[in-house]
C-alpha cells in the first residue's frame, strides 16, 4: 500500500495527517459511522495512546468479541473446575485462572486444594504430564487461532498418554458473521486483528466481505497502524464499497501461515457452541477431531459440570452486550465497583484482553 511505506512510526505529524484524513472522510460520509475491532491488543493501543480523542464526532470504534477468554462459556470453565476437583492436574493460561465458573473459578478450586497450574505454553503443560506420570494432566486450552495452532502442534507431536486437552479454542470468522447479524449491533466496518491473521491470512475474510457487504481491513496494533486501519475503512465506506484490505503487510499475507493452519485443521474441527453472553455460534468453537480422541479430555473423562444456580451479580453483568458492541464498560453498574480485576464478575474484567479490564486500567472511559 502506498500510504504504508511513507509512515514514520511514533511520528506525531504522521498521526495528525491520518487523523486529518479521517476528519475529511467523516465530513464526506456525512453520517455517524460505527467500526468494530476484534482484538484486545487493538483496544490496548487505542486506550494507551488515547486514539479515541483524535477521532471526530460521530465516529465510534468499539471492541467486539476479540477476547477469547471473555467468550469462553461458563460450562467450559465448570468442566475444567470439575476435572481439577476430581484429581486431575489442570494446566491453563494465566488469563483463564480467575474467570468465574458457575460455582467458582479455577483459582477457587486451587484455593480449595485442587492442582491448578498456570502455564505460558502448551509445551509447559506437556512437561507437567512428563513430570507427573502417575497423574492425569489436562490442558484447558483457550484462545483463537494463534494459540489453537500451538495446541494442535502439541497433539500432532504425540504427547504422553496421561496428557489431554479440554478445548475452549475459538475461531473468529463465524463470530464476525453473528455480530454483523445482531439486530442491535451496527457495524459499518471491521478492523481485523493483525496477529490472528498472521496465522489465518487475510484471504480468509473474503467470503465474509462478499456476503455481508461490510468492509474488512486487517490492521496492526501500533497506534499508527490502528489509525491507518480506521482511515482505510472510512475510505471504503465513503466510496460505498465493501472491500477487503491488508493494511498490515509487515506481518500478514493472503494465505497466512499454511504450516500452522494445516496442523490446526489436522487436529481440530469447527463445532457449534455458545460464546459467553453473545450467542450460540455455528462453527466458531474448535473441537478435537476423532483421530485425536485419545487426547480429548471430553472423551477421556465423564464430566458432569455443576450448572448450579446463577449468581445474581453475573445476571447484572453486561459483558455480552459489551462484546456485541451495544454497550460500553462504563455503562455497567458493576464496573469498577463490585467488578474489579481482583474480584471479577465477568470475564471482560479478567483477561488482559478484556475491554473492561483495559478501560479500568486507563481510568474509565479511555478517551483522553
Amino acid at each position: 500500500m502506498a500510504t504504508d511505506a511513507t509512515l514514520q512510526f511514533r511520528d506525531p505529524d504522521a498521526a495528525r495527517e491520518i487523523a486529518d484524513r479521517i476528519d475529511a472522510l467523516m465530513a464526506d460520509v456525512g453520517e455517524p459511522v460505527s467500526l468494530m475491532h476484534v482484538c484486545g491488543s487493538h483496544e490496548q493501543a487505542i486506550a494507551k495512546f488515547g486514539l479515541r480523542s483524535m477521532l471526530p464526532e460521530g465516529l465510534a470504534v468499539r471492541m467486539g468479541p476479540g477476547c477469547p477468554v471473555c467468550v469462553t462459556n461458563m460450562p467450559e470453565v465448570d468442566e475444567a473446575v470439575a476435572l481439577a476437583e476430581d484429581g486431575a492436574i489442570v494446566a491453563t493460561y494465566g488469563d483463564m485462572y480467575r474467570v468465574p465458573g458457575t460455582a467458582g473459578s479455577l483459582a477457587d478450586a486451587s484455593a480449595a486444594g485442587a492442582d491448578v497450574e498456570i502455564v505460558y505454553s502448551a509445551s509447559e503443560a506437556v512437561e507437567l504430564a512428563e513430570e507427573n506420570p502417575g497423574r492425569e494432566v489436562v490442558f484447558f486450552a483457550t484462545g483463537f487461532e494463534t494459540t489453537a495452532a500451538p495446541t494442535a502442534a502439541i497433539l500432532a507431536a504425540g504427547p504422553p498418554g496421561n496428557f489431554s486437552v479440554l478445548s475452549a479454542h475459538k475461531y473468529v470468522p463465524p463470530a464476525m458473521e453473528v455480530v454483523a447479524e445482531l439486530p442491535d449491533t451496527d457495524v459499518d466496518g471491521f478492523l481485523a486483528a493483525g496477529h490472528a491473521a498472521t496465522i489465518t491470512g487475510y484471504g480468509l475474510f473474503e467470503a465474509f466481505v462478499e456476503e455481508y457487504e461490510i468492509p474488512v481491513v486487517v490492521g496492526g496494533f501500533e497506534p499508527l497502524d490502528v489509525l491507518l486501519g480506521i482511515e482505510r475503512l472510512l475510505e471504503h465506506i465513503d466510496d460505498g464499497r465493501a472491500g477487503l484490505e491488508n493494511a498490515y503487510p509487515r506481518c500478514v499475507s493472503e494465505e497466512g501461515n499454511t504450516a500452522a493452519l494445516e496442523t490446526m485443521w489436522e487436529v481440530f474441527e469447527t463445532t457449534s457452541g455458545e460464546w459467553r453472553g453473545i450467542a450460540n455460534i455455528p462453527d466458531a468453537n474448535l473441537a478435537v477431531r476423532e483421530e485425536y480422541a485419545a487426547y480429548d479430555a471430553r472423551e477421556r473423562f465423564e464430566i458432569d459440570p455443576d450448572v448450579g444456580a446463577a449468581d445474581p451479580l453475573t445476571e447484572q453483568c453486561i459483558c455480552g452486550d459489551i462484546m456485541a458492541g451495544t454497550a460500553d464498560p462504563d455503562e455497567c453498574e458493576l464496573f469498577g465497583e463490585e467488578c474489579t480485576p481482583r474480584n471479577p464478575v465477568g470475564a471482560c474484567m479478567v483477561s488482559s484482553e478484556g475491554t473492561c479490564k483495559i478501560w479500568l486500567e486507563y481510568g474509565g472511559r479511555p478517551d483522553l
Binding site: C39, A122, T146, P150, A153, A157, T198, F221, E222, N257
Partner: protein, 127 residues
C-alpha cells in the same frame, strides 16, 4: 495479549530453540513457524511457539515498534513469554538487528540508525 513477541534464535535443537527476548532467554518451539529458521533469525513468538519468521529487513523496525508499544507494559510482555520473574532490557539489541544474518556482535549501547545501520560498533558479547 495476542501480539506475539519478537525474539532472536540463539540455539536450535530439533523442534525446539532457545530464543532471547530483550536479554530474557526462553525455549520456543518451531513446529509451526512455517519457514526455515536459523540461528540469528528473529521470530515472532506466541505462547511458546514461533508463529512467523521476521524477514531480516523488518527486524529493526519490528523491535522498535514493540519497544514503543511495550514500554510501561513490560509485565505483560514477560507474562507472554512466561518469565514473570525476569526483567526485559530494552535498547540492548543484538547486532543481528543491525546486521542481518550475523549474531552476537553488539553491546548494550548499540543503537540502530534510521536507515537500519548500526550507530555504534560496541563490544562483542558473543552468544
Amino acid at each position: 495479549m495476542c501480539l506475539g513477541i519478537p525474539g532472536e534464535i540463539l540455539e536450535i535443537d530439533g523442534h525446539e530453540a532457545r530464543a532471547e527476548f530483550w536479554n530474557v532467554e526462553k525455549t520456543v518451539r518451531l513446529d509451526i513457524v512455517g519457514d526455515a529458521v536459523e540461528v540469528g533469525d528473529y521470530v515472532l513468538n506466541h505462547a511458546g511457539f514461533a508463529i512467523r519468521k521476521i524477514p531480516d529487513e523488518e527486524v529493526a523496525e519490528t523491535i522498535e515498534i514493540y519497544e514503543a508499544f511495550l514500554e510501561g507494559d513490560e509485565e505483560e510482555a514477560l507474562e507472554e513469554i512466561g518469565a514473570t520473574d525476569a526483567t526485559l532490557e530494552f535498547g540492548s539489541r543484538p547486532a543481528a538487528v543491525a546486521e542481518p544474518g550475523s549474531v552476537g556482535a553488539g553491546g548494550p549501547d548499540d543503537g540502530v540508525g534510521p536507515d537500519g545501520t548500526p550507530v555504534d560498533g560496541g563490544s562483542d558479547d558473543g552468544d
